[in-house]
Symmetry: C2
Subunit: 245 residues, 2 copies
Amino acid sequence: MPDKSTLDVVLTPNLLTLYPLQGKVVVVIDVLRATTTMTVALDQGAAKVIPVESIEECLSYKDKPNHILAGERGGQKVEGFNYGNSPFEFMDGVVNGKTLVLTTTNGTRAITMASSAKEVLIGGFLNFSALTRWLINESSDTILLCSGWRDKFNLEDTIFAGAVIHHLKEYFLVDSDSAFAAEKLYLNSRRNMLHFMKQSSHYRRLARFGVVNDIKYCLRPDLTNVVPILKNGALVRADVTKDMV
Amino acid sequence: MPDKSTLDVVLTPNLLTLYPLQGKVVVVIDVLRATTTMTVALDQGAAKVIPVESIEECLSYKDKPNHILAGERGGQKVEGFNYGNSPFEFMDGVVNGKTLVLTTTNGTRAITMASSAKEVLIGGFLNFSALTRWLINESSDTILLCSGWRDKFNLEDTIFAGAVIHHLKEYFLVDSDSAFAAEKLYLNSRRNMLHFMKQSSHYRRLARFGVVNDIKYCLRPDLTNVVPILKNGALVRADVTKDMV
């Protein structure tokens, strides 16, 4: 029987340089709200989602047909953009068949930083089971990359990583302090995650902007089987049906 | 009444560049074992402890009278050195009146990185109460810097930082996700810290080297009132008697 693959947690993008990515799968996590919104867009029929780091790069797609530009900085919609980073903005058919070009404070940058990995996936509570099934099936060395807040540690991404650790630790070799701590924090939070999240700085930041419903949505598990995967610089739906365990 | 000063936790030295240090107090934490050993040396009468980053720099003090060289890499004594990084090596008068020059894998580097702060202190369980009293009395913006393991997150330093947060949060403004998480992990561990620590990668690393007694010693609280403070590149005993609250 072959050795198990490894599963580890990187608590902020600033620490990613300490981890070799070659041959590995990286799951980028930005629960509030980028990875949730990207997954919703693909679930709602978007052909693809292009994550871009800068507002300028986002604007360079302005005149392309069937492209929708969206952006957020500091938790708020970028001025002059028609769409921000709320998952609710991308329901009701607005992205169906379109390409969403999205730039956010933390999540899109983390995706760019991970792009030398073998595969880059996007995870959030809404695709938790589909994502974890994909990871078990793929069975490669895997890094759960928390997007954090301006390179600092954040609570919500760590708790999500901890949930993945908790559910996958029998399938993978899990052996780091960051994975252990993330799992503990998840176990502390899971009976009342919203209450626990109220302690997080980003919850309080977003609550000031009146988007508590966004937060509640971002914590709801298993709303979709869509797992976004990075292909040629754009996120598309991973094939989650074939060879499933 | 003046605003409270801030108290925050930096989970690894790699993240320290995200935090301005000017005018702040930094507490460097390397529970297993550098900050414990440094504190023991000063408690046992060492005139000062010079933390140096490299083995070469340490060796440059070789011919100076009354200097004792000590060093550890990867958890083990550096070959050719008479002393490593075990607190037990510096008891029984060996450092009395001497200068200890010490290089370790993580802790001494973290001290160098913090040296632009207003004050740099050294903390561990053995001087917990003396340290926290000093911080309350000083009442400056304070950063608890976990030394980590080769720039990655580690459990034992985070738990110690969480203990400080738990005991000082009524005196300081505590408002970050890293501080919240550290406190939670401390609360998870405090009923049986040794058992909890057995999950940490550095515990397992040190246990392989047969130094479980070192670990037990490093977790014992309040063995001394000595608080090491950095003055002109060397750690000396902070004055913990004057103006105590």
